[in-house]
């Protein structure tokens, strides 16, 4: 039985589908793959793409900049207030944001905000360009 995957944001559900496997990265730093029958788990997600290997073949990547994953039974629920599916990502904008963040980091390498912005831009591009 495939996994029921749901991505919920405060503006509304962003993605629902069935999947063979979901791969996410938690705050601790390790990737976790969820297969049907996974033990119930609640985790904080790192700024990283979440990969959904869909039941019909094919992979959907979702840029999750902050959020939680809850796995119970065969349901995977991703809660995120900042998440984007590939189709909604503005590539030029993300590239501009990346360049801007790199520029800031060159002059002030300990700028936390710029570092976070760079990471977000990289994740966006990774998802949008399907790498």
């Amino acid at each position: 039985m495939p996994l029921q995957v749901e991505l919920v944001s405060p503006e509304g559900p962003l993605y629902t589908g069935e999947a063979e496997m979901v791969v996410a990265r938690t705050v601790g730093g390790g990737d976790i793959a969820f297969l049907p029958g996974h033990v119930p788990l609640i985790g904080s997600l790192a700024v990283h793409p979440v990969k959904v290997l869909e039941a019909g073949g094919g992979t959907t990547s979702i840029a999750v900049h902050r959020g939680f994953v809850s796995v119970a039974g065969d349901r995977v629920t991703i809660l995120s207030d900042v998440a984007e599916v590939a189709a909604s990502i503005d590539v030029p904008r993300a590239e501009a944001a990346k360049a801007r963040a790199e520029e800031t980091l060159r002059s002030a390498s300990d700028d936390e905000d710029a570092r976070a912005a760079l990471r977000r831009a990289e994740v966006r591009l990774e998802v949008a360009l399907g790498r």
């Binding site: 503006e11 509304g12 119930p40 985790g43 939680f68």
Partner: protein, 330 residues
Amino acid sequence: MPGAQERILRRRINSVKATKKITRAMELIAASRVVRAQQRANAARPYAQQITKVIEDLAAGGADVDHPMLRVVESVERTALIVLTSDRGLAGAYSSSVIRAAEREIHAARAEGSDYELVTVGRKAAGYFRFRNYRLAATYDGISDKPTYEDARRIANTVASMFLDGSVDRVVLIYTEFRSVASQRVVVRRFLPLEQTSTIAEAGSATALAGFDFEPNASSVLADLLPRYIEARLFAALLDAAASEHANRQRAMKSATDNAEDMIVRLTRQMNAARQAAITTEIMEIIGGAEGLREAEGDGEDLLLDHLHSTTLFRELDPTDHAHAAPGHV
């Protein structure tokens, strides 16, 4: 030539008609926005439900950890009030009833010997409290009719940091709850400190499964989760308030349109009466003038009026209107 009174009335009718067009347009706009605001509130619900469910699961997993947002202070020295009103008027008593509730809360807090901090959303509340020399900790405007999650996050962060650094001991949220298009109600809700996780869990459905693993661990998940939870709660309140604002504006504009219609009918009647009175007066003056000329020619015995039958003279006029009409001025 129309009489002076008639001209004044005609001008008033035209102005009321113009106003009616505006209120009618505003009513229709508000009606479509209510629907959209309701849809947004419905779209936000799954997230709030899921985040509550995760807290339930955490509580069921035995993660009743200590968190500053759960800290309950025995003697409240300072209360923060978040007041959600609109930026613009013409929404009936929408903003003023929220403001009244907020003022009541401030007085109640003072009676208990605690101070207040005000955080206002919408120009109406900011204007009201500033004019009356209340102290405003933060004001937000330009968001009330179409709030975004980003707005909710900004406000929630401000309020949470006030709470966490101890400058306030309690936060209440005062807004208009949207129940249906026909019914909205001003509510005062406790915002911070949060209820204990077990209390949040009890309020939700009791479907929590025990035996969850936590990654990285229960207390750090909870520490990440609670700020998101208060943001989601504030966002839900902002969306409710926006839907209520549009519903109130729709109702206010509908009654304004109805009033304008009544007024047009009434003024049209008055104008018709004035016109008839003016015509009557004019006829009387013509006859009076003709009589004067005849008298001057020395034929005073035979009055012109005697040759006219009254029904011929007033044929065009409704006798009741004639009786009620005010004497016309010329």
